[in-house]
C-alpha cells in the first residue's frame, strides 16, 4: 500500500495514494464539510460542499480528487467559504427547520455543517424559499420519507443501487420539485424496495427516518435471531423493552448490514401475546399454573415414559448451551437417543 505525503492547511500528512483528498483528510481527523460522501459508496460530487483549493490555485471537490505526493490543500479561503456558505444557506432555506422535534437532532450532518460555517437565521431571509410543504411518504410500515428535509445528496439512491443492487429509488423531477422517488412516483411501499433500511442508516439528515423511533438508553451486542447468516447487531433497550436494532459494523459476517427482518422484526419480543405463565390443560382448557405445579406434573409424567417411548424435539432457535442440555437430558435422564430438531425443515 503505497503512501504519499501531502499538506492540508499546513499540516503534513501521509495517506494511501488511492485515497481522495476528502478521505485522506477525514482519516487524519481533519474535517471538511460534506453531505454526499459516504465511505461505503463511490464518490458522487453532488453537494459541492467539500470544495478545497489545491496548490494555491485550482478549486476542486475533495471527494473526487485523488491525492498525490507533495499536494498542498487548503480547506478554507474567502472564495471557498463564500461558495460553501451560499450552498448551505440555499439548502437550509428550503429545509424544514423543526430541529427540536426532529429525531435526527444532534446526529444531523446539516446541523453540524450549519454550525461549522456559522450560518445565521437572518442571512436565510434573503434566500428565495420554496413555500410548498410537500407530502411525507408514510406508506412503508417501518420508515417515512420527508422530502421537506431532504438535501438531495443521493446517498440513499446510491446505497440502494451500489450496495443492495435493488435500485428502488432515484432522484426525480426538477428544480424545487426535485426529490427522491420510486419508479413512477408510486408510494414507497408499492415499489420494489426491500425495506432493508440501509438507506435510512446512511441518510445524513432527517429525511429518511424509522417510524416511532425512540433512542435507546443503552445498547447490548447480540446476534440476529432469524436466518443462519448470524448477523451481529446491537439491541437498543429502553425501560425493559427493545426499541431498536443497529447492525454491528465490526462483525465479520455482516459488516453492519441487516435485512428487513433483522433490522425491523424485533416487535415480537415485547408482544402482548407472549406466554408469561405456565399452562396446564384441564378438561380441554388451558389453566395458568405455577412453575412448581407445572414442573412437578412434567416430571411425574416424563418419569412414566423413560426410554424409547419418549422423544425430544430441540430447537434451532435455542442457544448451543440449551441444545446441549436438552440432548444431555434426553440421553442421560430419559435414556434414549430420540432427539432431533428442525434442521431438515
Amino acid at each position: 500500500m503505497a503512501e504519499v505525503s501531502l499538506t492540508i492547511d499546513g499540516l503534513e500528512i501521509t495517506a494511501n495514494k488511492d485515497m481522495t483528498v476528502l478521505e485522506a483528510a477525514l482519516e487524519n481527523s481533519i474535517y471538511i464539510p460534506h453531505l454526499c460522501h459516504h465511505p461505503d459508496l463511490e464518490p458522487a460530487g453532488m453537494c459541492r460542499l467539500c470544495m478545497v483549493e489545491v496548490d494555491g490555485k485550482r478549486m476542486v471537490i475533495s471527494c473526487k480528487t485523488q491525492i498525490r505526493d507533495g499536494m498542498v490543500v487548503r480547506t478554507e479561503s474567502e472564495r471557498i467559504n463564500r461558495i460553501r456558505k451560499i450552498t448551505v444557506q440555499l439548502l437550509i432555506a428550503n429545509h424544514q427547520g423543526d430541529c427540536l422535534s426532529c429525531n435526527k437532532s444532534t446526529t444531523c450532518e446539516l446541523q453540524c455543517i450549519a454550525s461549522y460555517l456559522g450560518i445565521k437565521e437572518e442571512e436565510l431571509d434573503l434566500m428565495r424559499r420554496s413555500d410548498k410543504i410537500r407530502p411525507i411518504d408514510t406508506s412503508n410500515p417501518f420508515f417515512d420519507y420527508d422530502p421537506n428535509k431532504c438535501v438531495l445528496c443521493g446517498i440513499c439512491v446510491r446505497t440502494c443501487a451500489e450496495l443492495q443492487g435493488v435500485s428502488a429509488i432515484d432522484l426525480a423531477f426538477r428544480g424545487f420539485d426535485t426529490s427522491i422517488s420510486t419508479f413512477g412516483a408510486k408510494p414507497w411501499v408499492e415499489s420494489n424496495c426491500e425495506s432493508c433500511g440501509e438507506c435510512i442508516i446512511r441518510c445524513p439528515v432527517g429525511a429518511l427516518m424509522p417510524k416511532h423511533q425512540l433512542r435507546p438508553s443503552f445498547e447490548v451486542r447480540s446476534v440476529c435471531p432469524y436466518c443462519g447468516c448470524g448477523c451481529g447487531m446491537y439491541l437498543g433497550v429502553r425501560a425493559g423493552r427493545i426499541v431498536g436494532v443497529r447492525g454491528e459494523i465490526d462483525n465479520p459476517s455482516n459488516r453492519g448490514s441487516l435485512c428487513a427482518k433483522g433490522r425491523f422484526g424485533y416487535e415480537f419480543v415485547n408482544h402482548p401475546q407472549r406466554l408469561t405463565e405456565p399452562l396446564i390443560k384441564k378438561n380441554g382448557e388451558f389453566v395458568e399454573a405455577s412453575w412448581e405445579e407445572a414442573l412437578e406434573l412434567v416430571t411425574e409424567k416424563f418419569s412414566q415414559y423413560r426410554g424409547e417411548q419418549f422423544a425430544c424435539i430441540a430447537s434451532a432457535k435455542c442457544t448451543n448451551e440449551e441444545n446441549y442440555v436438552l440432548q444431555k437430558f434426553t440421553r442421560v435422564v430419559m435414556g434414549t437417543n430420540n432427539i432431533d430438531h428442525c434442521a431438515r425443515l
Binding site: G228, L275, E308, A311, R331
Partner: protein, 530 residues
C-alpha cells in the same frame, strides 16, 4: 459452509444452486452481488426465475428434482473437455475412477431431456464454473429437501473436487443454513445419531467416553429423526414428547399426518415463547424467553460461534430454556444439571466437543470464533480442508451417483408440481415475524405462484382465491399469476397458518439424511368462486 461469508465477494465464479439467496439469506446475497460487481460470473440453477437471476450470467431453469442430472452433466463436460484439475484430484482425492464411470450415464442429450435445460446452456455453465477460479458453490434447501438430497449434496462436492475448488479462499461447498442456530443445534448433538461434535452414538468407544463424562449408562442405538418421531407416535411407539421452540403442525411435511400424530400423544410438553398452533395441542405449555432475554451462543452458517447477550429481563414469569430443562432433569434425579449459568455449560461443551475445545466466553467477548477451534490458543478455522479432509485417509472421496426421479411427480389427476419457497419478510412458520405488524403489511398472506399458461389452462386469475389439492390434503390461498414459475410448476411458502402449505407436501424421506421431500409434490389447482 467450508468458507466464510466474507469470502464469497472475492470469488471469480459463483454457482448458486437450490438457494433463493437474496430472499432467504439476504446478507449472503449482498456478497454475491458484490462479487458480480467485481466481475465474477454468476450461475444460477433454480426451477424458478428468482431475484438473483437479475445478476446472473447463466441461468439454468431445470425441472425440480433434477439437480443430480444437471450437475453430473456439467461434470461430464468438464471431464470430456479436460477442464478438470488433475493434480488436485491426484493428490487430494480418491475413488475418481468409479465416479468417472458413473458419468457415463450423463451424456448431454440425456441430461437435456431430464432437466429441460438446453444443452448449450449446460455446456456454457460447465466451462464457466471450471475455468473461472476461485469458484464458490452456494446451496440451500433446494438441494437437500429431496428424497435424493444426500446425493445432491454429494454432486456439489464432486463438482468442487473435480475442479480443485476447495480448501482455498473464495471456493468451497457452502450450504446456507436456514435458522440462526441450526448449525449449533447439530454441533451440540441435538440429533438422534450423534453426541456433541458429531461423535457417533453407535461407536462403542465414543459411547464409553460419554458414559464416563456423564456418569451414566447410555443407549447405544441411534434414535429416530424428526419425521420418523411422528410416524412412531402414529404407530403408538412414542407416547411422550418434549417439544422446544418448534411448530411442526406448520413446518413438517404432510402436516395433517403430523397433526393426527400429535393428537395421539399421551403427554405433550411444549416450551415456547408464543402459544403456537402446535402448543395449543399440548398438555403442558412452559413459557420460555426470546434471544433478547438470555445469555448464550449461536453458531451461524459459517461455523462462527458468537455470543448472544441478555438485553432485557424475561417478560412475565417466563424462564430461560436452560433453567427449565435443568429443573426437569434435576427433579427426575439427573446428575450433572446443576449449571448456574450458560458460561458453565460452555465449559462442559468445550470439554466434550473437540471442535469447540478452545472456545470460551472470555474469548468470544472479543469476537466470534469459527470451529474447529481445538485449543485455547487456536485461532479458529475460517476455511475447511486446506491441507487434508476430515476422513481417515485425509483424502476426499468422489461419489459415483445416479439420477433418481422424485417420489411423486405430476400425473393426470394432480397435473402440477408444487415446490416450496420462502418470503423475504417472514421466517419459517412466522411465529416471530407474524407478530411484527410491519412485516405483515409488506407480506400478509400466502400466494400460489402460477405461470400464466397454467393459470389459463386451469381458469385461474390473478388474486383469485384458489384451492390446492394434493394426495394428502388441501389448502386455500390467493393465486399470483407470474412467469417466475415455469409452466407446470407452482410455488408456495409455508409461513401462514391460514394456508398450511405443508398439508400438501410429501413426507417421503431421503434414505440417509431422512429429510422429507418438501421441494417436490404433485398438486391440482382449482379456482374458487369469487
Amino acid at each position: 459452509m467450508t468458507n466464510p461469508i466474507s469470502d464469497i465477494g472475492g470469488a471469480s465464479c459463483i454457482l448458486a444452486v437450490g438457494t433463493n439467496t437474496t430472499v432467504a439469506h439476504p446478507i449472503v446475497g449482498l456478497q454475491v452481488k458484490k462479487a458480480v460487481q467485481n466481475g465474477a460470473k454468476l450461475i444460477v440453477i433454480n426451477p424458478k426465475e428468482i431475484d438473483l437471476c437479475r445478476f446472473a450470467d447463466i441461468f439454468l431453469q431445470n425441472k425440480p428434482g433434477t439437480n443430480i442430472a444437471l450437475l453430473m452433466g456439467m461434470m461430464r463436460i468438464i471431464v470430456d473437455e479436460g477442464l478438470l484439475d488433475a493434480s488436485f484430484i491426484e493428490s487430494r482425492c480418491e475413488n475418481f475412477d468409479d465416479f468417472k464411470e458413473s458419468l457415463k450415464n450423463f451424456d448431454i442429450l440425456t441430461v437435456e431431456k431430464i432437466t429441460g435445460v438446453p444443452k448449450e446452456d449446460i455446456i456454457e455453465a460447465a466451462r464457466c464454473y471450471a475455468t473461472n477460479k476461485p469458484a464458490s458453490i452456494l446451496y440451500a434447501m433446494g438441494i437437500t429437501q429431496h428424497i435424493h438430497g444426500t446425493d445432491n449434496v454429494m454432486a456439489t462436492s464432486n463438482l468442487a473436487l473435480l475442479t480443485g475448488n476447495i480448501g482455498m479462499p473464495s471456493t468451497g461447498v457452502n450450504p446456507l443454513r436456514g435458522q440462526n442456530n441450526v448449525q449449533g443445534a447439530c454441533d451440540m448433538g441435538a440429533l438422534p445419531n450423534v453426541y456433541p461434535g458429531y461423535q457417533r452414538v453407535d461407536d462403542s468407544v465414543v459411547q464409553k467416553k460419554f458414559e464416563s463424562f456423564w456418569f451414566q449408562d447410555l443407549p447405544s442405538s441411534p434414535g429416530l429423526t424428526h419425521t420418523e418421531i411422528f410416524d412412531a407416535v402414529h404407530d403408538g411407539e412414542i407416547k411422550a414428547i418434549y417439544l422446544v421452540g418448534e411448530n411442526p403442525i406448520l413446518s413438517e411435511a404432510n402436516a395433517s399426518h403430523t397433526e393426527a400424530a400429535i393428537a395421539k400423544i399421551e403427554f405433550l410438553v411444549v416450551q415456547d415463547i408464543f402459544l403456537t398452533e402446535t402448543a395449543r395441542l399440548a398438555d403442558v405449555v412452559l413459557p420460555a424467553v426470546t434471544f433478547a432475554e438470555k445469555d448464550g451462543t449461536f453458531t451461524n452458517t459459517e461455523r462462527r460461534v458468537q455470543r448472544v447477550r441478555k438485553a432485557i429481563e424475561p417478560v412475565g414469569n417466563a424462564k430461560n430454556d436452560l433453567w427449565i430443562t435443568c429443573q426437569i432433569a434435576q427433579r427426575m434425579g439427573g446428575k450433572g444439571f446443576d449449571f448456574s449459568s450458560p458460561f458453565e455449560v460452555m465449559k462442559e461443551i468445550a470439554s466434550v466437543t473437540p471442535q469447540y475445545k478452545g472456545i470460551s466466553y472470555d474469548r468470544l467477548d472479543k469476537g466470534g470464533l469459527q470451529w474447529p477451534c481445538v485449543s485455547e490458543d487456536h485461532p479458529g478455522t475460517p476455511i475447511l480442508h486446506i491441507e487434508r479432509f476430515a476422513t481417515k485417509s485425509g483424502k476426499a472421496k468422489f461419489m459415483p451417483l445416479e439420477y433418481k426421479p422424485s417420489a411423486e411427480l405430476p400425473d393426470d389427476e394432480y397435473p402440477l408440481l408444487l415446490t416450496t419457497d420462502r418470503s423475504l419478510f417472514h421466517f419459517h412458520t412466522s411465529t416471530m415475524t407474524g407478530r411484527v405488524e410491519g412485516l405483515n403489511v409488506l407480506d400478509g398472506h400466502e400466494f400460489v405462484r402460477i405461470n400464466p399458461k397454467d393459470a389459463a389452462r386451469f381458469e385461474v386469475t390473478d388474486d383469485q382465491m384458489v384451492r390446492v389439492f394434493s394426495r394428502r390434503g388441501e389448502v386455500e390461498a390467493k393465486a399470483k399469476v407470474t412467469d417466475v414459475c415455469p409452466p407446470g410448476v407452482v410455488s408456495m411458502t409455508f409461513h401462514f397458518p391460514e394456508s398450511r402449505t405443508n398439508v400438501l407436501t410429501n413426507s417421503a424421506l431421503d434414505p440417509v439424511a431422512k429429510i422429507p421431500e418438501t421441494k417436490v409434490c404433485a398438486v391440482r389447482v382449482e379456482g374458487m368462486k369469487q
